[in-house]
């Protein structure tokens, strides 16, 4: 059986969906709610294509390929629909991909990762990260710097910014760690890359975060733990989405994390309700409510039915390994 995708004729197997056939033929169609070999239901609408015969926009992940189908998977119209789908998902996705402090550091220090190590008491690791940016420790560049990191710090909107420079000084002065090797260098984050933004904290959120975040550094750790394999970010970048034009007005409380088991953590404000975790656990995650207020939750009693692989199945950083 043959179909045409973007004027290219490809062979499809019986019962295959357009998405599967395209993937096999090396045509990439983005999809959030589809995961190969897993149970899934169409919903994200990022995989839409146009059936040229009927003129209908259809989700390619559930549309079975039929002999002679002509599919448009790359016209501006189709890409526009995908872009809007992503923008809509992003408008309901309260998370920072990267921490603002890290993004603005003129010396390329991964501030957030550094603070994370510091908060964990892993001073060696913190020192190694520091060494990567500042090669001539204990001399650091921060003394001359106007500290955009502290200005960008989200904690500043709650009470007072994290005293980043003081902490850097503290670690830099730890002479016992002078032998620590610099951490391997990382690809620099391009300024033109796509970043999701967490938006403004509500008063309730401010009060809660002020109360609950009291690590040594007081850092909120804005960077997303699941960002490495986040498809929402990857596709947004691919399709040239800079930021959602629809503002961020989700009701999901920001930075609220739920420990599912020893390794697994769930952060609802990053969830895009694709349902992969719901369909792929037996009496585990579930939907509650409907419409815009529909949420994914895991009842306390069901936590035992979650498993670590869900971190990979989740297309965003909503479920991740600690």
């Amino acid at each position: 059986m043959k179909i045409t995708i973007d004027n290219r004729e490809i062979t499809v197997l019986e019962g295959e969906t357009i998405l599967q056939a395209a993937t096999r033929a090396g045509i990439s169609i983005p999809s959030m709610c589809y995961s190969d070999g897993r149970k899934h239901k169409e919903g994200c609408m990022v995989c839409v294509v146009k059936d040229l015969a009927s003129g209908q926009i259809v989700p390619s992940c559930v549309t079975t390929a039929k002999e002679g189908m002509q599919i448009d998977a790359s016209s501006n119209e189709v890409l526009g629909q995908r872009r809007i789908a992503l923008e809509l998902l992003l408008s309901d996705h309260r998370a920072d991909c990267e921490a603002p402090c890290t993004l603005v550091c003129p010396h390329g220090l991964d501030v957030e990762q550094f603070l994370a190590a510091y908060d964990n008491g892993a001073f060696e690791e913190a020192r190694a990260i520091l060494k990567r940016a500042f090669t001539s420790l204990p001399t650091i560049a921060c003394d001359e710097c106007k500290a955009p990191c502290e200005k960008a710090c989200r904690r500043g909107s709650i009470d007072k910014s994290v005293a980043i420079r003081d902490i850097i000084h503290e670690v830099a002065a730890m002479e016992s760690l002078s032998d620590v090797e610099a951490a391997p260098s990382k690809a620099k984050i391009g300024k033109d890359e796509f970043f999701s933004r967490i938006g403004i904290f509500s008063n309730d959120e401010k009060a809660r975060l002020k109360e609950s975040v009291n690590t040594p550094s007081r850092c909120l750790h804005c960077a997303c733990d699941g960002r490495v394999d986040c498809r929402l970010r990857a596709y947004s970048k691919e399709l040239g989405v800079k930021r959602s034009r629809y503002g961020i007005s989700t009701k999901q409380s920001v930075k609220l994390t739920i420990d599912v088991n020893e390794h697994l953590r769930f952060e609802p404000s990053k969830c895009i309700r694709c349902g992969l975790c719901v369909y792929n656990t037996d009496n585990g995650f579930t939907f509650i409510g409907r419409g815009f207020d529909m949420k994914v939750v895991i009842p306390e009693e069901n936590k035992c039915n979650a498993y670590d692989e869900l971190a990979q199945i989740c297309p965003t950083g909503a479920i991740y390994l600690k």
Partner: protein, 799 residues
């Protein structure tokens, strides 16, 4: 420290609860498929879903926690917390919305002193909630308390309604069945509508007055409750049929007029009684002047002129026998040709011929889609399967529509017959009536009608000795608009969340439990018997080439005579508004007619000469929809109307696909911005782009049609959107853009000051009053109260 006694009591309570839960599980079943009926039964038993009861369900059934939570929180019917003793449901359907339902809701909230988040009063007496539509649109605004409906509830009448309800509870009649205890022969008949809405409008009182008068006069009259007449605005109304069969109609009567009317038509049998009555009547006449202005003495034309206009251009197919037949009198139905069509179909045994004739009749699905019914039947008939299902879709969720409710309550037998013919034709062995739980009366009527049919051998094994076996059961919808969509409806019968799924496969190929399933709307099925009885040709004589037959509409809004109407396709919208509806109430001008509810659009007054026709309406940006028709006047804000529908769809969206779940919400955000005067011109463009995207790409029909109210109002009333950007709402509907002021018409009577719930009007007798806009909540009570029309809403900004 725990008290042992209490603990053991608590344990005892828990044991009892578990026994009750176990009995329910025993009765309903323990499979996943039974999730919704099980939850409904639990809620009926406990009035909410107690967590101990749910825990027992996890233990005893194959329904697990994840599944149960996802289903119980999807449907609006289920409550996880106990409610107050009396539940006040404020209808916010379209018709009620344009008549100020939100102000009514706010007024209840104030009266019951509920704060922002609470819905139940501290003493647990009342709970307050909004409900999508009670289906009494012609009586808007309506409020339901427990099982009783109150009509025309204005914000100022809230306290009165609560008092009335207290009275009602005390005097609630135990049994209002009528008896002809003396066993005498009837001298005549009095017919009156006893549907829920008729009772609300005063027929209940008239009914009581009839019983009393009959007793006093000593005559045996058959008092016959009949199906809906549709003329909701003319109720209370009775038809008197005398010995000779002459019918005299009395619309808008008062209970106290009843006796006089009966006396006029039915003289007492015994001469002594007659003398006594005549004497008493004379006394009455001298003592009161009631007898003089009795409706009885008004000339025929004055009495019934308006109602005749209302009924004249209508055509009865779905509502055949209206005003004559009793909904549940099966013998009468049969005497009037009922079940003849079924007999004919079974006798001829030619299934193809029936499908052919349905195809030829051009009958199209009346539930909204307008798909050719015959083609659907053919698909199911051709599908190869041992088992096939037929579902009658009565999940009428449109706010502003009540056609299906009336058809099910008033003509259940006709719908059942249509369903039987359909089942026989396509080879279905099992039928399901899917009826909204918000329509308890319809559920009761259909249940009774099905029992009667079973008793008469019209349902069950070997129907009418034809060898055809078929039975029907009822499934109560649990409150989700999206379940009107075929695939979502199937999901809910299967005990799942009402998530639609992509078609194809169509339910006709793979539907309920994977079997071929025919799903037809109530109204569609109610037209089948006509076609079978009279033939496709006669049916095609009614209507337009693309849209044959008739369409039932629920006419409501700013029209003088609302009600349930059935008109031939091809009638113009203006004819409906002007001739049937009697024009716009209060002397205002027609602005637009909203057709098709949340999936439809507004047709502006200048285009109202358009004919009712599936394709014509679609061209105009509306849809036929299920048949809600809400008339809007110059005082209705079109941006607010669009916002109203989007709020509805965003609440009713199932949440499965991004375009509907987030897209509609974002459109609503933009409309909220516009209606509070914070919008920009770019917002209008973004709104339009998003509307087009959702329309082309959402997963199901609900999502794809949800932007229609926005697109249609943008198309015809764009200038109003632009005005809102400039901060002006010309109708004064959008609260954030207007203020209330007292004009110099004020004579200083202080009435407004007394009625104001927030003391925003100073109390200075004989001086022009002044409204403190800081305090004013714009509840509208002062406007209603002022007899001098001295309080106006004006825009904060001016052009």
């Amino acid at each position: 420290m725990g008290c042992e006694n209490c603990n053991s009591n608590h344990e005892l309570d828990r044991q009892r609860l578990i026994q009750r839960v176990d009995a329910i599980i025993e009765r309903i079943g323990s499979t996943r498929q039974m999730t919704i009926p099980l939850l409904q039964a639990l809620q009926e038993e406990f009035s909410y879903l107690p967590s101990d009861a749910l825990n027992r369900v996890y233990e005893k059934t194959e329904i697990n926690r994840a599944h149960l939570l996802s289903v119980a929180t999807f449907y609006a019917q289920f409550k996880m917390v106990p409610y107050g003793k009396h539940i006040i449901k404020v209808c916010i359907g379209t018709a009620c919305h344009v008549k100020g339902a939100n102000l009514v809701y706010e007024a209840f909230k104030r009266e019951l002193q509920l704060n922002e988040d609470s819905i139940t009063t501290p003493d647990g007496k009342y709970s307050l909630e909004k409900i999508a539509c009670l289906g009494c649109c012609a009586l808007a605004p309506v409020v339901q308390i427990d099982d009783k409906i109150y009509s025309y509830v204005q914000p100022g009448k809230v306290r009165e309604v609560l008092q009335q309800h207290d009275e009602y509870i005390k005097t609630k009649p135990k049994n209002d069945e009528q008896h002809n205890a003396r066993g005498e022969e009837y001298v005549g008949e009095v017919r009156l509508g006893m549907e829920n809405c008729c009772q609300v409008s005063g027929n209940a009182e008239v009914y009581k007055a009839l019983l009393k008068a009959q007793e006093e006069l000593g005559v045996a009259i058959k008092i016959k409750p009949i199906s809906c007449v549709g003329a909701c605005n003319q109720i209370p109304m009775i038809d008197v049929v005398d010995k000779n069969g002459t019918i005299t109609r009395y619309p808008n009567i008062r209970p106290k007029e009843v006796k006089e009317i009966l006396l006029h038509h039915f003289p007492s049998a015994s001469p002594l009684r007659r003398l006594k009555n005549a004497f008493l009547n004379q006394v009455d006449m001298f003592h009161t002047d009631e007898t003089w202005d009795n409706i009885l003495w008004k000339p025929e034309k004055e009495r019934t002129g308006e109602i005749n206009n209302f009924l004249n251009i209508q055509k009865r197919i779905s509502t055949e026998g209206y005003g004559i037949i009793s909904p549940l009198d099966i013998d009468e139905y049969r005497a009037n040709g009922g079940f003849e069509a079924l007999k004919k179909a079974l006798h001829d045994g030619n299934r193809d011929a029936i499908i052919e004739s349905i195809l030829q009749s051009g009958l199209r699905g009346k539930g909204g889609g307008g798909f050719l019914t015959g083609r659907k039947w053919r698909m199911v008939a051709d599908a190869e399967s041992e088992e096939k299902y037929i579902i009658c879709n009565g999940d009428e969720g449109d706010p502003g529509a009540f056609m299906d409710r009336i058809l099910l309550e008033s003509y259940p037998l006709r719908v059942i017959e249509g369903m039987l013919i359909a089942a026989y034709t396509v080879g279905a062995s099992k039928g399901i009536f899917y009826i909204r739980a918000e329509y308890p009366q319809a559920v009761i009527r259909v249940t009774k009608a099905l029992d009667m049919c079973r008793r008469q051998g019209l349902l069950g094994d070997n129907i009418l000795q034809s060898g055809f076996s078929f039975d029907i059961e009822i499934f109560k919808g649990a409150g989700a608009f999206v379940c009107g969509e075929e695939t979502a409806l199937i999901a809910s019968i299967e005990g799942r969340r009402g998530f639609p799924s992509r078609r194809p496969p169509y339910p006709a190929e793979r539907g309920l439990f994977g079997k071929p399933t025919l799903i037809n709307n109530v109204e569609t099925l109610s037209q089948i018997t006509y076609i079978v009885n009279y033939g496709a040709e006669q049916y095609t004589e009614v209507g337009t080439p693309n849209s044959r037959g008739t369409k039932v509409f629920a006419l409501a809004g700013k029209v003088r005579h609302g009600g349930l109407i059935e008109v031939p396709m091809g009638t113009t919208i203006r004819q409906i508004v002007e001739d049937i509806g009697g024009g716009i109430e209060g002397g205002e001008k027609l602005k637009a007619v909203q057709i098709g509810g949340p999936s439809g659009g507004c047709i502006p007054a200048e285009l109202c000469d358009a004919e009712i026709d599936f394709d014509a309406l679609t061209r105009l940006g509306a849809i036929m929809g299920s048949g809600g028709m809400v008339v809007l006047s110059e005082s209705d804000c079109m941006v607010d109307v669009a916002r109203y529908f989007l709020r509805f769809t965003s609440e009713e969206s199932c949440g499965k696909c991004t375009f509907c779940r987030v897209g509609i919400r974002r459109m609503l955000d933009i409309l909220d911005k516009l209606c509070t005067g914070r919008g920009t011109m770019e917002d209008i463009d973004r709104l339009e782009e998003l509307a087009h995207t959702v329309r082309s790409s959402a997963l199901c029909g609900l999502g794809r049609t949800a932007p229609n109210p926005v697109l249609a109002t943008l198309r015809y009333f764009r200038e109003e959107y632009e005005e809102h950007v400039r901060g002006i709402c010309r109708t004064g509907t959008c609260k954030d853009m207007v203020k209330y002021v007292v004009t110099d018409k004020c004579i200083g009577c202080t009435k407004c000051s007394k009625v104001c719930p927030v003391e925003a009007i100073d109390y200075k007798p004989y001086e022009q009053h002044h409204i403190d806009i800081e305090k004013c909540t714009m509840c509208g009570l002062c406007i209603d109260e002022c007899e001098f029309d001295a309080i106006k809403k004006i825009s904060l900004k001016s052009e």
